[in-house]
Amino acid sequence: MEKRVNDVGGLPGMTIRQETHPATLHQKRVDALYALLTSPPVSAFRVDSIRRTIESNTPEDYRNFGYYDKWIRAVHKVLIEQQILTAEEIEARMQEIRKRPVVVETAACANP
């Protein structure tokens, strides 16, 4: 009986960290990007595609990547899979952004 990496209900031995923390700027950006891509007029994919991609992670990746890191990796993969963007287009844009001067905007980074 095959079991997916996320299907951990009933398994022993996991500690749940219950302390809360404010969302980071990176996390907010991932959330915003996801909202823009899944809402009209773009509606590039549905949450089911993202879940399927996240749940196809190796056990190591599933354990080691954070929640929003898994999301953004899945968004990247699904955009390519759905032929909305190519890996080269995404990489070229990321290179362009990396060349921008670093401006630290403390107000934008400030946590509520």
Binding site: M1, E2, K3, R4, D7, G9, G10, F45, R46, D48, S49, R51, R52, E55, S56, Q82
Partner: protein, 109 residues
Amino acid sequence: MNTASNATHAVLATGTAVRVKNSPPEIHCRTPYYLRGVPGQVDTLVGRFRDPSLLAFNKPGLPMRYLYRVRFKQKDIWPDYAGSPADTLVADIFEHWLDVLKEPAHERA
């Protein structure tokens, strides 16, 4: 679009004895591992929804599937369950993951 004819079976009444299938999961499976093969009883019909195992591949997700709230006895799920035999767990299971049992699985809790 009338998709009723594509349903695998008629609407199940509350109290129908069912068993969760023990088959290999779809690639995008919404049925928890720990419930596979476990008998239970239909509690309520939640509604009809597009099939997430198809939506996950950017398909329309049709035919729509009935989703049931199914009640399981905890002692049927966990062999070493130490709590009361009357304890139950309720989970949402799509129709195509349920087999209807001829005989009731057990007395209603």
